[in-house]
Structure formats: C-alpha cells, structure tokens
Amino acid sequence: MKLTLNIWRQANQQAQGAMRTYELDGVSEDMSFLEMLDHLNEQLNEKGEDPVAFDHDCREGICGMCSLMINGQAHGPEVTTTCQLHMRSFKDGDTITIEPWRADPFPVLKDLVVDRSAFDRIIQSGGYISVNTGSAPEANNLPVAKEKADRAFDVATCIGCGACVAACPNGSASLFLGAKITHLGELPQGQPERWTRVVDMVAQHDHEGFGGCTNIGECTAACPKEIPLDVISQLNKDLRTAMRHGL
C-alpha cells in the first residue's frame, strides 16, 4: 500500500523541529510499524537524506523503548507497543502523523527519540528493595496470598515505555508511578521501605516536572500493558498513609 507520512524532524535537542511530509510506496500490511519506518529509511538513505531517528530495541513488546505518537495516540490505534503494531491496522492511501512523546521531562533528542531517563531517576529514588544478595532463598519461606501475588504480577508488567505520560493531558506519570508502588507494595519484600518509597518516588516525579493527575484515564487507555487506573488510587492511598506517619 501507499502512505503519506507526516513526521517530526528535529536535528538535535537544541534545534527547532518541524513536521515533514513523505510519500511511501510498497508498504506490506504484514510489516510492523517499525519495519515500515525501516523501509522509509532505506529510501532516504538511497537518496542521501538523513534517516528518521526512532527508538527501538527488543521489537517484541517487552523492553519499552519504542515510543511513537501515531495519529494522536500513543503506540497507535491498537492496545500494544509500536513494535507490535502492524500495517494491517492501516489502509492504502492513509495519512499517518508520527510525533515523539511530548512532555518537558522527556526532551526530544533527535526526530522521534526522547530521553526517558526521568523514569530511571524515579526508580532510583525508591523503586527497589534493599536485600542482601546471596544464594536464592527457599521460595516457600515467604508465603504471598494469591490475590496479592496476582496483582503484583499484573502491574509488574509495566515496561516503563512512557505512553501514559505521552497520552496524559496533564503530562503526569502517575500510572507508571502507581504501577511501581503497587507492585512492591503488594509483596512482603516491599514492606520495610514502603512509606519512604512512596514519598521519595512522588517527590522525584514532581521534581522532574511531570504534571499532577486529574483521573481522566487517557493513560490506562494508552497503556500497552493495560495497567488499570486503580494503581493510581493505591499510590494516593500509600502517600496518605505516609503522611499519617509524618513522612
């Protein structure tokens, strides 16, 4: 099929960017969205033009690197990552607008590539448990109730892709934050640092310049891992408890 692509081009972090239009022929519906961009880049290379920079790594929906705003939706029209989106979700003659995640804490480095290290710093500020490493402990020593294990596992599927921030009208990272807080908060290993963790991670989130949540729900609709809104309720509840502890 034949497509018209409107793509954000920006030479580097300081440069002024702009949308550019490309006509692309010979796209198969079996291509993934990233393969379609590879196809475009081959043509740009042949013409001696600078290829479009975009992030990707695993291309199997688990690393969270791929990050494109496609026709106004984070990761495009399906509930999946950009790398798992296929061109059969589009049709011949379509115009597709491709932009980078837009949030000031995620500065654009080049074209469609943004710097998501703000998420790494949020994790660094408390998204871990402190344990002495050594040989693996006996699994049955630490019983975890089925519902807690299930919830922790479900929210641990968050891959830190940042689609929640990209989709949020407030530029808030509350869904990501809530997923991490809920994941560790449901497990016994997460308890000792539970209340300082939530305070530190929220403080880092705010410090990075992310917005406040107004519970609109665009994040969960965009999330490729379908992290539910109740992690934000859990986040708020944990912060309120930390407040009661005077933290």
Binding site: A203, N215, E218
Partner: protein, 233 residues
C-alpha cells in the same frame, strides 16, 4: 525541565498528591454544603411560611449558645477557607500541567476522557463567577433587587419570573456546570482519597458521581424551573 539530579528529603505534604487531597477534602465540604442548601431551597414547595421560617431559623440556630447568625458565620468562614484552598490547588496544578507539556502535539486524540473531565478547570472558574453573581443577587441584593427584602421567599419567586428569564437562565446554566463538575469531581475525589483499588469500586465511584451530580443539579434546578413555569408563585 528534566534535571539529572536525585532529590533528597522529599515530603508527602509538599507533593502534587497533597494538593489533590486538599482539593478532594474541600470538594467534599462543598458537596455537604450544596446538599444542605438544596434541601433548604426545596422548602419553596412547602410555601412562603415554611421557606421564610427555615431562613429565619438558619439565623437563630444554636442561640443562645451561639450568637445571632453564629452558625451562618461559621459556615461562611469554612466555605471561604475551602474555596481558597480548592482554587489554590486547582490553579497550581493547572500551571504545572501547562509547563509539563510546552510543545503541543500536532494531532492528539482523546479516547477515554469524559466531557466533564475536560471541563473541570474552566467549569470551576465558571462556578466561581456564578458564586459571586449569586451572592450579589440573593445575599447582598446588589443585583436585580426586587421583592420584599424581609421575605426570602418573595425575593426568590420574584427573581425567577418569566419577564426576566435571563436570571433563571444563568442559574440553570450554572447547574449544568455544577453537574459536570460533580460528575468528574466525585469520581476523582474517590481516586484521590484512595478508595477505588479495584474495578468494582471504580465502577461504583463513577455511578455515585453521576447520582450526586444529577441529584444536586436537578434538585437546585427544580426551583427556578417551577417558578418560571408558574407552578410556584
């Protein structure tokens, strides 16, 4: 701006979530107040005596333990402090949301947002303007003064006559804004207070929000509507 630093000594009370909690708690104060206010207004249907006596009792409530109009002043102070806190949190978070995305998308699709959720900020400003108008109208009698100043019932009924339909129109529009603010606000407050930790409680919070919105706005709207259409005179 992204700054590659880890901050130390964060405080729960200094967070964006603390601002949301302030907004939720003051919002609940408003809900309690509008429910009582609506109940009082519906006394219009019990006739002039019942309505005016109720208004009089509001002023003498708690005497002699409280001074004359004591309860009224307590309520006024609580509401004033609440609106200051609520608006402060709203405007602070509004500014923060703007600076979290200074470059806008060329194309952005909203797939989950309700109309009410998108109207919270401007709708809140509209409600604030309405509250000012309402106070100038029925508390200080600065706007549209007519009716017997000694009878609140008379003032209400003469205000909503069809000859000056615009007064009723302002009130009815404000009730649409209030319904929308409560539709999203009640749900959002449940989230902020951490009461919606699973899919069922989320659905319940949304149903309660719609119920409260319709109940409050509908209850208030009945009064100007029935006067406009001559059911109460």
């Amino acid at each position: 701006m992204a700054t590659p630093t880890l901050i130390k000594g964060g405080r729960s009370t200094r967070s964006t979530i603390a601002l949301k909690l302030l907004m939720a708690v003051t919002g609940l104060v408003f809900i309690g107040y509008v429910l009582l206010h609506m109940y009082g207004n519906l006394k219009v249907f019990a006739g002039q005596d019942a309505f005016d006596t109720y208004a009089h009792h509001l002023r003498t409530f708690g005497e002699p333990m409280l001074p004359h109009k004591g309860l009224l002043w307590i309520i006024r102070v609580v509401l004033l402090l609440s609106i200051i806190g609520h608006a402060y949190a709203a405007f602070t978070l509004w500014a923060r949301a703007n600076s979290a995305r200074t470059s806008k998308y060329v194309v952005k699709k909203a797939v989950a947002a309700t109309l009410s959720s998108k109207m919270m900020r401007w709708g809140g400003v509209a409600l604030l303007l309405f509250v000012v108008f309402h106070l100038l109208h029925l508390t200080t009698h600065t706007i549209n003064v007519n009716g017997d100043p000694e009878s609140p019932y008379d003032r209400v009924v003469s205000s909503f006559q069809p000859e000056q339909w615009w007064v009723a129109a302002i009130y009815l529009l404000a009730m649409v804004a209030l319904a929308m603010h409560l539709r999203h606000g009640v749900w959002s407050a449940c989230q902020t207070l951490g009461l919606t930790n699973n899919a069922r409680s989320r659905m319940r919070a949304n149903s309660v929000a719609v119920f409260v919105a319709v109940l409050v706005a509908g209850g208030f709207a009945l009064v100007p509507l029935s006067i406009l259409f001559g059911i109460v005179d």
